[in-house]
């Protein structure tokens, strides 16, 4: 039915399968929307946050999606500025994933603030000394960049491309994409960094506070670096998941391997820097404020020293070691493990820099604050995931996201133009999953 919209030379599942898939994910989406409306209408009392826990799961989700969405700017940097042409095979998808991550981040911020209708105050009455202001500005601008990078892909839809204006527009945008990508890198550097700065400047919280250069604490650079390192891993991970679900190869191995290799070296250098930072903080910064490392990791039910070990060793050095070796990258299982660990690692880091910061007592007579999100918080955190899956589904079905797909999956009998595309065989067991294709 919708075959006229589907890119040429590729196979897609039937429309009813696709709609079934969308409606299942859509139900989850609606649940999230309901929770979001509750938060907007009734206020933040719908959450389990309290006066000790002013920043909680939403801010973590925000930081995490932005960190993993860093794959878009870093892949863009490599592709358009450093001219790594192999990445052509994956750049569209990286941009799409980035677009989803950043739009989710903005959405989360919109329900995270207590007075959403005043959200524009952060721009209008900007305090240029606040890290959060820097985040808001660069985030919104960079979202604009991602939209610009995403538009040509939409315009390449078979039917839209027939309109001469859109055809030329997408062509022109491709021509000067390097300019947009460079602006995106500039903006990303600052908002990824300032997200790190958000925690690092809190000189009232020894757990978060870090020294630095000029106005930027070390966390500023660590956050940018880790996003550039782990973001591509997320892009690879989502690509691999998409390939598994659609049961076909979508991106050339050379692209994945190149990205994995660069990512591996980035993770290695990052985790070394992070180790040095942690060591300095534990032996110099914290003791100068009268606290020891173990003060931050004991006397509470959750935050033990294991979390530091998990972040730095298991989810840092291990994936780095896998990705920097050719054998590791070539081995599919090892690659899976490495990208998952790297993504988990960066998420743990963001978790620690938000939720543990809130939990640790500062006054000697204060106590650890524990927190568990309410269902409304959980639903609104899952909401962007559902939204992302739907957008990926739509984009994959109707847009030429993977330029090498038809080459990697040649169709024996090319369907005649404007006719129904051939239905792929449906595996009964996985009836829903391939529908995502």
């Amino acid at each position: 039915m919708d075959s006229a919209l589907i890119p040429r030379g590729v196979k897609r599942c039937s429309l009813w399968q696709f709609l079934l898939f969308i409606s299942v994910v859509g139900a989850v989406l609606l649940w999230g929307v309901y929770a979001m409306l509750l938060c907007w209408i009734k206020g933040l009392n719908q959450t389990n946050m309290n006066d000790y826990y002013g920043f909680a799961i939403w801010i973590w989700a925000d930081l995490a999606v932005i960190a993993v969405g860093g794959g878009a700017f870093f892949t863009g940097l490599l592709r358009y500025i450093f001219g790594k042409d192999e990445l052509k095979s994956i750049i569209n998808y990286a941009v799409l994933i980035g677009f989803i991550c950043y739009s989710s981040a903005l959405l989360i911020l919109a329900y995270d603030i207590g007075q959403p209708l005043r959200g524009w105050f952060i721009f209008w009455h900007a305090n240029v000394h606040s890290m959060l202001t820097e985040v808001a500005f660069c985030l919104s601008c960079y979202f604009g960049v991602l939209t610009i990078e995403f538009i040509p892909l939409i315009l390449e839809n078979r039917q839209i491309d027939r309109v001469p204006f859109f055809h030329h527009l997408s062509h022109n945008m491709h021509e000067i994409m390097a300019v947009f990508a460079a602006t995106g890198v500039f903006l990303s550097f600052f908002h990824q960094g300032s997200l790190g700065g958000v925690a690092g400047v809190l000189f009232g919280r020894p757990f978060a506070f870090r020294e630095g250069i000029l106005i930027w604490p070390w966390t500023f650079f660590l956050f940018t670096w880790s996003a550039a390192a782990c973001g591509p891993c997320f892009t690879i991970l989502i690509t691999k998941i998409t390939e598994t679900v659609t049961r076909k190869k979508l991106v050339k191995d050379s692209a994945i391997e190149l990205l994995a290799k660069i990512s591996g070296w980035m993770i290695l250098t990052y985790i070394i820097a992070k180790t040095i930072d942690t060591w300095y903080w534990a032996t110099v910064t914290a003791p100068s404020l009268g606290q020891t490392l173990m003060d931050f990791y004991s006397n509470n039910p959750l935050y033990g020293i294991w979390i530091l070990f998990a972040e730095i060793v298991i989810c840092g050095f291990v994936p780095a070691a896998i990705l920097i070796t050719k054998k590791g990258r070539k081995n599919s299982v090892a690659l899976w493990i490495a990208v998952i660990l790297a993504v988990v690692g960066v998420c743990i880091n963001r978790w620690v820099m938000v939720l543990q910061v809130m939990a640790v007592p500062v006054m000697s007579f204060d106590y650890w604050a524990m927190y568990f999100p309410s269902w409304q918080e959980i639903a609104t955190t899952i909401l962007p995931v559902a939204y992302g899956i739907i957008l990926v589904g739509l984009a994959h079905r109707y847009l030429p996201v993977f330029p090498d797909e038809s080459e990697l999956n040649p169709i024996e009998t090319l369907p005649a133009e404007e006719e129904e595309t051939v239905e792929p065989p449906v595996d009964l067991e996985q009836e829903l999953k391939p529908a995502g294709a």
Partner: protein
């Protein structure tokens, strides 16, 4: 220098006198129209601009000792004037440092509820309005007309009863004076304390009681020179304008974090 004449309002709380009766908390709630709910059992959701903490020395009987510590907003000065933890982070300039008085204000109509300031305050002196205020029947009539009630979704905190300062200034102006007398501007908690544990005044004025009690050292951001005086979390470099007095060493030690074998005397000002 221009700032010479500026005032620096501050508070000295004598912990040896405080009985923990909570009058200051009550007076503060009434003075500032602080909202409350039917069920206030979850203290993590209660708004208490002034909050009395109970400290103990942790020793078994008969050496056990307790102390009550009232904690308002410290109106931190930071490493240089206006560099309070919360003021620097607020993205919308909704909390501001008044150079004339040293008071950290909160602009309710400007705050959009991002709660970054709460994350920055080590004293947990900031509170979020999770609900819109609901007053018991008829209580609207008893609200103070001088303080605007807050709507849900914004942060609030102790203002050192800034409206009282404004009213005192107005009165002085009408009487053709420029200067305020020491007793003309006093916070509600100061006046409510039956034990007289709280003293309020200008830390830059050597004639004021607060100055004489702690003798702030201007070279070290107002660190007290009175050996019995201390400020909470002195080492963080927040430079609070609320000082505490106690003759008991363990109380003074509880005021900050120290490594196991570190003595109080060795304390250094971080970032100084």
């Amino acid at each position: 220098m221009k700032h010479k004449k500026a005032k620096k309002y501050g508070m000295v709380i004598n912990l040896d006198k405080c009985t923990g009766c909570g009058s200051c908390m009550v007076a503060c709630m009434a003075e500032n129209n602080v909202p409350f709910r039917k069920d206030e059992s979850d203290k993590l959701l209660s708004i208490t601009w002034m909050r009395v903490y109970k400290l103990t020395n942790g020793k078994p009987f008969p050496n056990t000792d307790i102390c009550y510590l009232p904690r308002p907003c410290m109106h931190c000065e930071g490493q240089h004037e206006g560099h309070s933890p919360c003021v620097t982070v607020c993205p919308a300039v909704a909390t501001d440092y008044n150079i004339e008085t040293g008071i950290v204000s909160q602009i309710y109509t400007r705050c959009f509820g991002c709660r970054y300031c709460m994350a920055s305050c080590p004293y947990k002196a900031r509170y979020f309005n999770w609900w819109d205020p609901v007053w018991p029947d008829g209580m609207e009539k008893y609200l103070s007309p001088n303080v605007s009630p807050r709507m849900r979704g914004v942060v609030e905190k102790c203002s050192f009863c800034f409206h009282r300062y404004q009213m005192a200034k107005e009165k002085a102006f009408m009487e053709g004076r420029r200067k305020l007398k020491e007793d003309e501007y006093q916070t509600a908690c100061t006046q409510a304390c039956p034990a007289g544990a709280i003293t309020f005044g200008d830390l830059n004025n050597p004639n004021h009681a607060v100055y004489r009690m702690v003798k702030p050292d201007p070279k070290h951001h107002g660190r007290p020179t009175n050996p019995n005086a201390f400020r909470l979390l002195e080492r963080l470099g927040t430079n609070p304008k609320v000082y505490y007095l106690s003759s008991r060493e363990w109380v003074r030690r509880v005021g900050d974090n120290y490594l196991k074998n570190e003595s109080i005397a060795k304390k250094t000002v971080h970032q100084g």
